[in-house]
C-alpha cells in the first residue's frame, strides 16, 4: 500500500530544559540545577492530534511552553514550518486549564479579544465571534459574563476565542483538567468534532490515559525526572472512538504498559 508521508509541522530536536532551584525550596540547595526535559526529539505532523502524556513533573507542560514560545529551551531547537520558535505567535494559540478568560468582558467580548488585538474591524469581529460561539455550542450566551458560566462552558469560550484568529496550531495544557468526569467526556467529544471540522494541528498535554487514548492520533508517553520520551504510541483506532470498544481497550492497555516501569517486554510484545 502506498503511504502518503504527512508534512512535518513542528520539529523538536534534542530539546533539554534545566531549572535552577530558587532560594528557599525545601530539600534542595539554592542554585542546584535539575533537568525538566532531557534530549527530547519529536515531529508533529500537520493536522495531527498529538497527546503528551505522563505523570506530573515529567516536563510535558514545560515542553508545551517551549513549543508555544513562552519559554526557551536550555539547548536544542524547535522549528515550526521550518522557522525557529522565538516567542508566542497568534498562528499558534495556547489554551490553559484555568481558561484565562477576561472577567470584565462578556462571552462575545472574550471571543473577539484576539481579533481585536489583530485590529480586525468591529463588524467582522462580531460576525466571526458569533460563528465560533455557534461552533462550540454557546449560541445565545454572547451577552453573559464569564463568571456566570460553568467550567465546561468557560473552556468552550476559550476554545472559541482561540479558533477565532484561525491559528494553524492549538496547544492545549490539560484544558479539561478542572472539569468533572462527565463534562470532561463531553468536552473531549466536542473537541474531536471541532478538530475533524477545522483540521488544526493540536498538541494536547494530559495526565489522563483515557483522555489521551480517546483524543490522540499519536500518544507521546513521558517519564519523569528527567522528563524524557519513553515511547510514541500510534493510535490506529478510527473516529469517533467507542470508549468501550475493543480497539480503545487495546490501545489503552498499550499505554498502561508504556507507563508502568518494568513491563518493557510486554510492550514490545504488543508492538
Amino acid at each position: 500500500m502506498l503511504e502518503i508521508k504527512p508534512r512535518v509541522k513542528i520539529k523538536v530536536s534534542s530539546v533539554s530544559k534545566q531549572w535552577s532551584v530558587a532560594a528557599g525550596k525545601q530539600g534542595l540547595h539554592e542554585g542546584q540545577r535539575f533537568a525538566a526535559l532531557e534530549d527530547v526529539s519529536l515531529e508533529v505532523y500537520e493536522g495531527e492530534f498529538l497527546c503528551l502524556l505522563g505523570p506530573s513533573g515529567c516536563g510535558k507542560t514545560t515542553l508545551l511552553n517551549i513549543l508555544a514560545g513562552f519559554e526557551r529551551p536550555t539547548s536544542g531547537s524547535v522549528l515550526i514550518d521550518g522557522a525557529p520558535v522565538e516567542k508566542p505567535h497568534p498562528r499558534r494559540i495556547t489554551i490553559f486549564q484555568e481558561y484565562a478568560l477576561l472577567p470584565w468582558r462578556t462571552v462575545l467580548g472574550n471571543v473577539e479579544f484576539g481579533l481585536e488585538m489583530a485590529r480586525v474591524p468591529k463588524q467582522q469581529r462580531r460576525r466571526k465571534a458569533k460563528e465560533l460561539l455557534d461552533l462550540v455550542g454557546l449560541t445565545g450566551a454572547e451577552g453573559k459574563m464569564t463568571w456566570e458560566l460553568s467550567g465546561g462552558m468557560r473552556q468552550r469560550v476559550a476554545v472559541a476565542r482561540s479558533l477565532a484568529v484561525d491559528p494553524d496550531v492549538l496547544f492545549m495544557d490539560e484544558p479539561f483538567g478542572a472539569l468533572d468526569a462527565l463534562t470532561r467526556i463531553r468536552m473531549e467529544e466536542e473537541l474531536v468534532r471541532i478538530w475533524l471540522q477545522k483540521k488544526k494541528t493540536i498538541v494536547f498535554v494530559t495526565h489522563d490515559i483515557d483522555e489521551a487514548v480517546y483524543l490522540a492520533d499519536r500518544i507521546v508517553v513521558f517519564t519523569a525526572l528527567p522528563g524524557r520520551i519513553r515511547e510514541i504510541i500510534p493510535a490506529s483506532a478510527g473516529r469517533p472512538r467507542d470508549r468501550t470498544g475493543f480497539d480503545f481497550v487495546r490501545l489503552r492497555e498499550k499505554v498502561f504498559a508504556a507507563l508502568s516501569l518494568g513491563h518493557k517486554e510486554a510492550v514490545e510484545y504488543y508492538l
Binding site: 495556547t94 490553559f96 470584565w104
Partner: protein
C-alpha cells in the same frame, strides 16, 4: 445580618457616642465652653445654617477636595500603572515615592502658599499630595496583582505593549485599584482641615480656625461634626460606586 438590624445597630452606635459625649460635658471635667454638649453643638450647626455659612462652606470644601482628589487620580493612576508595568521605571521611581510619601502634606503648607498664593490652589495642592501617594502606590500594586496568565494570553494573541496596558492590565488591575482609590479618598479627606487652615477664608477647615479665633468652641465642634458626617457620606458613596464598578469589571467572578 439583616439590613434593618445593621441600621439599628449603627444608630445605636451614634446614640451611644452622643450620650457619652453629653454626660462628659455635663460632668464638669472641663471648664464650661471648652466641651460643649451635643445640644449646644446642634444649635451651633443651626446657627451656621441660618447665617448661610454652612452650605457655602460645604460647597467650597467639596470643590477643593474634588479638584485635589481628581487631580491625584488622573495623574496617579496612569503613572502608577506605567510604573508597575515597567521594572526599570519602578526601580527609578519607587525609592523617590517612598521618600516623599512619609512627608506629611501639612509640611508642604508654607511652601504651597508661597508657590500658589492665596485662594483655592494651596488647599487643592495639599489634598492632591495626600491622595497622590496612596493612589500611585496602589496602582503599582494593582498591576502586580494581575494574573500572569492573562498577560500570556494577550502576548499569544500578539498584543502590542499599548494594547496590553489598555486592554488587559488596566481592566484586570481595576478591582485592586478601586479599593486603593477608596482608601486614598478617606486619607485625602482627613487633610481637608489642614489644607484649609491657610490661604483661604472659607470651607469647613476654615470654620474650625475661625471658631477658635472667636473662642467659639461650639462652632469648632459643629465643623468637626459636619466633616465627620460628610466623610461618612463620601465613603458610602464611593463604596456604592465601587460595588457597581466591580460587578462591571468581573471582580464578582465565581
Amino acid at each position: 445580618m439583616r439590613r434593618t438590624e445593621r441600621l439599628f445597630l449603627s444608630m445605636a452606635g451614634f446614640l451611644t457616642l452622643l450620650t457619652v459625649w453629653h454626660l462628659i460635658s455635663r460632668a464638669g471635667i472641663f471648664p464650661p465652653g471648652l466641651l460643649p454638649s451635643p445640644l449646644t453643638v446642634a444649635a451651633a450647626v443651626r446657627e451656621l445654617w441660618v447665617r448661610g455659612v454652612l452650605l457655602m462652606s460645604i460647597a467650597d470644601s467639596l470643590y477643593r477636595f474634588t479638584a485635589g482628589y481628581a487631580l491625584a487620580v488622573f495623574l496617579g493612576v496612569p503613572f502608577g500603572l506605567l510604573t508597575g508595568w515597567s521594572r526599570r521605571l519602578e526601580a527609578f521611581v519607587e525609592p523617590l515615592l517612598q521618600t516623599l510619601r512619609p512627608i506629611s502634606p501639612i509640611a508642604w503648607l508654607p511652601l504651597a502658599v508661597l508657590w500658589f498664593g492665596i485662594g483655592n490652589r494651596p488647599t487643592i495642592f495639599i489634598i492632591f499630595l495626600a491622595a497622590f501617594f496612596p493612589v500611585t502606590l496602589s496602582a503599582i500594586a494593582a498591576v502586580k496583582s494581575v494574573d500572569p496568565l492573562l498577560l500570556r494570553v494577550a502576548q499569544n494573541f500578539g498584543a502590542t505593549p499599548g494594547q496590553m496596558l489598555s486592554k488587559v492590565v488596566a481592566p484586570a488591575a481595576f478591582p485592586y485599584l478601586a479599593s486603593g482609590l477608596h482608601m486614598a479618598l478617606g486619607t485625602a479627606w482627613v487633610f481637608l482641615v489642614a489644607g484649609e487652615m491657610v490661604g483661604v477664608r472659607s470651607g469647613l477647615g476654615f470654620l474650625i480656625i475661625d471658631g477658635r479665633n472667636q473662642v467659639r468652641y461650639d462652632l469648632v465642634m459643629a465643623a468637626m461634626v459636619i466633616i465627620g458626617l460628610l466623610g461618612l457620606s463620601i465613603d458610602r458613596l464611593m463604596r456604592a460606586v465601587e460595588l457597581l464598578a466591580l460587578g462591571r469589571f468581573g471582580a464578582r467572578r465565581s
